[in-house]
């Protein structure tokens, strides 16, 4: 078991990062920290994909008679797309956070909920 973990420590890192990110997204009330949590969560998937493509001792996939073992480039290319998507998501999320802060004057979810509840109470 221990040997298995030692050999696949990268997957262990993936799981730890994934759970950390997801936990922050769920448990933290601060919107910026939620975005950061989301980022950690996504990053764990980047590492997961990169691990899929890596072959120990493998080289870059260049056609040459000197090498026989190659890393798989496809997961790396795929995750490049996902990284771009992640950057776009983060940028959009932060833009929204700025507008929320302008509207409510706070980024704490419980305070925003309190303001919303007061608003509803005042309207009804």
């Amino acid at each position: 078991m221990l040997e298995l973990l030692a050999l696949h420590y990268n997957y262990l890192a993936v799981v730890v990062l994934m759970m950390t990110g997801l936990y922050v997204v769920i448990a933290n009330g601060n919107l910026v920290k939620k975005v950061i949590g989301l980022n950690i969560f996504q990053t764990s998937v980047f590492i997961l994909y990169i691990s899929f493509g890596k072959r120990l001792g493998g080289t870059a996939p260049i056609l040459s008679p000197d090498f026989e073992l190659y890393s798989n480039p496809l997961p790396h290319v795929l995750i490049l797309t996902a990284i771009v998507v992640g950057v776009a998501t983060t940028a959009l999320a932060l833009a929204l956070v700025i507008r929320i802060h302008r509207g409510y004057g706070t980024l704490e979810e419980d305070e925003i909920e309190r303001i919303e509840a007061e608003e509803q109470g005042g309207a009804g």
Binding site: F52, T89, A93, I100, G103
Partner: protein
């Protein structure tokens, strides 16, 4: 370019037309002109969708290789009855809601930002159509994120400070969902070395006992269920629908969740196969109770909503339950019912949200209280709302009846009389929540000074799309040969591998 060349490239055109329109709208950057451009593009995409469906019905499923690269190395678009049908629904809703959008957007979105709304709309359409046509799992992820990012922008353009908040909440949930999907796709790729759906379908059965494949299935299904707002993963939906501009809500209600359900069914039935999904993984044991709980709980919550947009949004969560219930019954009748309900619900709910858009245009607020006496002030809009509501309830001669007929039949086929009973009981709940609106509009006297003076009948450019959809609700309620026929064909295609 000759007609045959256009016909040959239809699958690509369905994606390329809206995609190319998006940057054009930003370059043009003049509200009236941008709207014309977007409308033209929506109509063109709809024409492409009609062409696709006609071709599939005539020649059967076909494959389009992007850039001439053969699958599984290249990305292929694989068109069959199911996705041609979904593309038709998505582009159709967009083509009806876009002409409506001009007046509605003028009132609800600042003038200098309106062109960005049309840009995001075209990108959302690109993504939604792309998810439907592609035969490559990673491509699904890319299109999913294109449509999602555009949708977050669209939602955030609503009035008031609640809109960006609703958009951010949707973004957090949507990103978690898409990332779950990505994890699942990665696990499948690691096991099979392929991303092509048809290729995966052939490679998964020999390794169906692998834990990694099981985990991949769970991640993908969970991710798409979040996107589809399957109960109890629906919390983002009422907020997003409630906060978005009226025209956007109508567009999203008819398209976004439908496409996520399409992707879910495609992965479950085509990639993994019904035997693995419902046999090995026993997906229906989870899906049917959740769908039924969604139908009941969301319908009941809708009854108590004061804000009509939120009321219809909760109703959407319930209708998603109907669609997935059909899939959970794993029979031809059930799947036909679920798929035809995607079509019929798009007709009914888009009509209802557009009618609400008319009311928002004239009255400003759309709460039950603000409806008092509106039946006299806006007779055509309210009549459309009531008729659309009847289709939502599933009254005979409306489109909604057709899908519920199939679902009840499928439930009785398997002796699940209590499932049929729940379906019928939820129709009564739908009658209550749409009836409340009609009651307020027709039987409550207007509060003196309650309705603004400008609360008269909506302009023709908004009424025509609403009534077009209402008309279609009745057309497809009386003659369901096209809607149910193609849905049946799609269902047989999905179940192809089982029997």
């Amino acid at each position: 370019m000759s007609a045959t060349a256009v016909m040959a490239h239809l699958p690509a055109l369905a994606v390329v037309v809206p995609l190319m329109t998006a940057p054009l709208t930003v370059l043009v950057n003049r509200p009236a002109l941008v709207w014309r451009l977007a409308t033209l593009s929506c109509l063109l995409t709809f024409a492409v969708a009609v062409g696709l469906l006609a071709r599939v019905l005539e020649l059967g499923p076909f494959v389009y290789e992007i850039g001439g690269w053969a699958a599984p190395w290249g990305i292929e678009y694989r068109i069959d009855a199911f996705n041609a049908y979904v593309v038709l629904v998505v582009t159709g809703v967009s083509a009806v809601a876009m002409p409506f959008a001009r007046r509605s957007v003028e009132r609800e979105v600042e003038r200098d930002r309106a062109y960005l709304l049309y840009c995001a709309w075209m990108l959302a359409l690109t993504g939604l159509v792309g998810i439907a046509v592609t035969g490559d799992l990673f491509n699904v992820f890319v299109f999913l994120e294109i449509s999602s990012l555009a949708t977050y922008v669209l939602v955030s353009m609503g009035r008031g400070r609640a809109a960006p908040l609703a958009a951010l909440r949707y973004l957090v949930v949507g990103t978690v969902g898409a990332t779950f999907f990505l994890i699942g796709v990665g696990l499948l790729y690691e096991m099979t070395g392929s991303l092509n759906m048809a290729d995966l379908a052939a490679r998964i059965p020999p390794i169906a006992d692998s834990r990694v494949v099981h985990a991949g299935f769970v991640f993908i299904v969970l991710g798409l269920a979040l996107k589809a707002a399957l109960f109890p993963l629906h919390a983002w939906l009422p907020g997003a629908y409630g906060a978005a501009p009226s025209a956007v809500t109508a567009f999203l209600a008819g398209t976004a969740t439908k496409v996520a359900i399409y992707a879910l069914l495609r992965v479950v039935f085509t990639v993994f196969g019904a035997r693995f999904a419902f046999g090995t993984m026993a997906f229906d044991v989870l899906l049917v109770p959740l769908a039924l709980a969604g139908i009941l709980v969301a319908s009941a919550v809708a009854v108590f909503q004061q804000d009509l947009k939120r009321m219809l949004a909760y109703s959407s969560v319930a209708q998603i339950g109907y669609m997935l219930l059909g899939a959970g019954l794993v029979s031809e009748a059930g799947l036909t019912g679920g798929i035809v309900h995607m079509f019929n619900h798009a007709l009914a709910k888009t009509a209802l949200f557009l009618a609400l858009g008319c009311i928002a245009y004239r009255v400003g607020t759309v709460t039950v209280a603000s409806m008092a006496g509106l039946g006299r002030r806006m007779p055509w809009t309210m009549a459309a709302f009531v008729l659309g509501g009847l289709s939502l309830v599933g009254v005979p001669l409306t489109a909604g009846f057709v899908s519920k007929w199939y679902l009840v039949q499928a439930a009785l086929e398997r002796d699940l009389w209590w499932v049929a009973a729940i379906v019928l009981f939820a129709s009564v709940l739908a009658l209550i929540y749409t009836g409340r609106v009609a009651e307020a509009a027709y039987f409550r006297p207007a509060v003196p000074g309650g309705l603004p003076d400008r609360a008269r009948e909506a302009p023709l450019s908004m009424l025509v799309p609403v009534w077009l959809l209402v008309g279609l609700n009745f057309y497809f309620g009386i003659d369901a040969a096209l809607s149910a026929g193609v849905a049946g064909e799609a269902a047989r295609g999905l179940l192809g591998g089982v029997s």
